[in-house]
Symmetry: C2
């Protein structure tokens, strides 16, 4: 960078972060923030007819899919409004003084508070749901953290448009200025992670980009948490019994899942363990000619997919099961197969995510071979078991639970429900922070830090910790969890 | 290191970690682990008469203090047994299927599960409470994580003795072998953090040592969380009104706190903002001749304290308020004073922790000067306000809440109570992971990671997530927090 460019980058990022830091957003009430989240949801919903075509033009994703994604994003914003209204996320805890203990216990009032300004790197493959007003932004605003979004270059016009409508909606609803802003550019992204007033980073993207930013966040003079969701292989195990009982149904589901929207999901099933010799492969192959081809998000991704899929297909130890139709723009759905021996021997190659409509069938002869293959797997967001009702899959479940944040049964991992109990995370390299999630109610925990007040005068206690529980939230009082509206039986 | 040394180090660490990984400890029940924690508490308590003199000989801490620390450590082990029996720490969450949502919601069962083998670096200044069977170990074992402790070289015989009795107590109580072991040595510590089967690290120690190990943990091919508690300045603000109303009482408390056990606490009040010209300084100075001198934990610490306190006292902008009695072995309690201007101008020097019986009074003229001084503070474990009942300290509280995990009123930060609502953490450089705590019930969260089971057959659900809640733990069911033993009013 030239000195001029450096100054311009620094000035843009400084302005966004300092506006966030000066916004006073951390001291706003939960009631206000819930209202603002719903105002953002309403604004997004109201502008749907203009936003969807804009997103389609920039990402090539279908308008039907994008319309559904708007609905999802609106739902996420409303969901986090409900989460903060309910209030348990604060972990409000009150211990009364007890001088008889060793050491003596003073009066303690503890709850979680917002960290401060956070940076959110938006994703290419979810231009709404993991972008300017996506899950990271919604959960951070809900927590009380002002947000500076680093827009994804794959959909710049959409990002600007959504940022504009969000800023307007927040202003109209009376939120402090500086609560949400957008910066763009690679250097700006680095400057954002390095900025001393940024307290945490959320990221959805590639392993390479995520690792580079994680390393910067960790090497800062004052390191900060970096919540990176870096993609995943999402292994699927089809048991012999399941393959025998319902090969056609499993094949139908698999092809639908790995080719959905061009396979551009971090939860795409990229590795499927199939029993050798079962009819499943034929059923999968039969469905590939009818599978949709999709132009990928960017030319760079199309090129990378072509290179990656060819490199795998050209290997001597790989069999090409089926390749679908493609044209100059769209990428062809591709199914490859390999033995457990070959998979284990070259697992570093096979465990490199090929982003796009490709899945690899790994043929296993028996449980011992299956275990050998599973042993080389790395962390994933999901793992899936297709089995029959009378099978005992508890040891297989335990095994897969160690490498994935979500384990599914007789379903497909694409499509991540918004729910209190959702988990979207997993061991490295699926994420940089496996004890957290980027989807579901507890995604808010990433932006909060505990504060204990010792022997505090009533005048400084937040209403959530005040005597008599005036805001009616669940609290732990002298060790006992108390939920307003319920009574000891 | 020579190749022979490297091999020896690698072999010792490999054995400990692989034994932990093979122990099956992660799949043990909460009921068993609660029993084992209590067995450890009983064994420690029973061996108190032998352990306290051994600790005294190695650390120079008084037998009375060490006896109290054993009581505290026994209490911590029993506390975490109660925490896991209560069960809310699992965050058990059940969402039933709802096909009407976008995206549709499958049935989800979520709870936290143990990460796997963890490393715990024990502290010099708490040979029991933050050592082999200290808070990190107790919370990790409670979580279901097997532990490899890196013993502190300041009390090697004690560490070995406690590890032996712990191993025996666990074996007698039927716990799996490999659940807890001890390694020693600097190279062993590094190898432990680098070991691919170690999933997280707890550390209590110096900023320099902690940063070095944090950097290693973050730079691993698969990075892992590093929970480091690195010490703290623990600023105290005495308001003009408090200084006027009760200078003698504040001085008495301050001298007692900063000289307690040689000032060797991470919560020692190291910086005290005092109103210029108030009588407080004289009251403090008057108590120094009567304050106890204490031989520090190691010769290295004594030397570092002598160097650090002299370097500060010799500065032109520093006034020596009082220096207590010392002899060849013991370090002298030392009180220094500086103006806000000088403090702010050389804050990097004044914010370097001087481990031992030293505190720095920073003289402020008015609230504007106080704010200017507070603005240069870094993260601390605690911050304290001494004020009068009719004062409005809410803005001061908000300010200090941003830089400390615990804010105290009219008390002293040394002595960290064991409680559900305790928080022992804070922004960098107090810790490497400010959103967590190393003391209190939620310290267990550091060793746990969420798992969601989607459309799981009943046969693979843990009992904590089974229909009808057979284990009777608090759970969130379809968004509603349900505490067994209570009913909707």
């Amino acid at each position: 960078m030239t000195t001029d460019t450096q100054s311009r980058v620094a000035a843009a990022v400084d302005r966004a972060v300092e506006d966030a830091a000066a916004s006073g957003f951390e001291t706003t009430s939960r009631a206000d923030r819930a209202r603002w989240l719903r105002a953002l949801a309403d604004a997004l919903d109201a502008d749907r007819a203009a936003l969807v075509p804009l997103a389609h033009a920039e990402t090539h994703l279908s308008e039907a899919r994008l319309d559904g994604e708007v609905t999802r994003t609106v739902g996420q914003l409303r969901f986090f409004a409900a989460v903060i209204e309910e209030g348990s996320y604060l972990e409000a805890t009150i211990d009364s003084a007890d001088a008889t203990l060793t050491p003596p216990r003073p009066a303690l009032h503890r709850m979680l508070r917002p960290l401060g300004p956070v940076a959110v790197f938006s994703a290419s493959n979810f231009p709404f749901a993991f972008s300017v007003l996506g899950n990271d932004t919604a959960s951070a605003l809900a927590a009380g953290c002002p947000v500076v979004v680093k827009g994804h270059p794959g959909h710049p016009e959409l990002s600007r448009r959504v940022a504009e409508l969000a800023t307007q909606a927040l202003a109209d609803a009376g939120a402090p200025s500086g609560a949400l802003s957008l910066v763009e550019g690679v250097e700006e992204g680095v400057a954002l992670v390095e900025h001393p007033s940024v307290t945490a980073v959320g990221f959805t993207g590639s392993l390479r980009g995520g690792r580079a930013l994680f390393d910067i966040a960790s090497a800062r003079p004052a390191p900060i948490p970096f919540y990176g969701e870096l993609g995943s292989l999402n292994p699927v195990v089809v048991t012999e019994a399941a393959a025998a009982a319902r090969a056609a149904g499993v094949a139908e589901g698999l092809v639908g899942s790995f080719t959905r929207d061009g396979g551009q999901y971090c939860t795409k099933p990229g590795i499927v363990f199939v029993p050798s010799g079962a009819g499943l492969e034929g059923e999968v192959a039969a469905r590939i000619p009818g599978a949709p081809a999709q132009q990928l998000l960017t030319q760079g991704m199309s090129d990378a997919f072509a290179r990656g899929s060819s490199a795998l297909a050209d290997r001597d130890d790989v069999e090409v099961v089926a390749v679908g139709a493609a044209d100059d723009a769209a990428s062809a759905p591709t199914v490859l197969a390999v033995s457990v021996d070959a998979f284990a021997a070259a697992h570093e190659t096979f465990l490199t995510e090929c982003f796009g409509p490709l899945t690899l069938l790994v043929r296993y002869a028996d449980r011992a071979e299956l275990d050998r293959a599973i042993a080389v797997l790395e962390g994933s967001l999901t793992a899936t078991i297709h089995c029959e009702p009378d099978e005992d899959v508890s040891s297989l479940t335990e095994r897969l639970s160690r490498i994935a944040g979500r384990v599914l049964f007789n379903g497909w991992p694409t499509g991540v429900a918004i729910a209190w109990g959702q988990q979207h995370g997993g061991p490295w390299p699926a994420t940089t922070a496996s004890i957290h999630t980027s989807v579901g109610a507890t995604a808010i925990r990433r932006w909060l830090t505990p504060l204990a007040l010792q022997d505090a005068p009533a005048s400084v206690l937040p209403a959530e910790l005040a005597a008599g529980n005036p805001l009616g939230i669940p609290r732990r009082e002298d060790g006992v969890l108390v939920v307003p509206g319920t009574e000891r039986a």
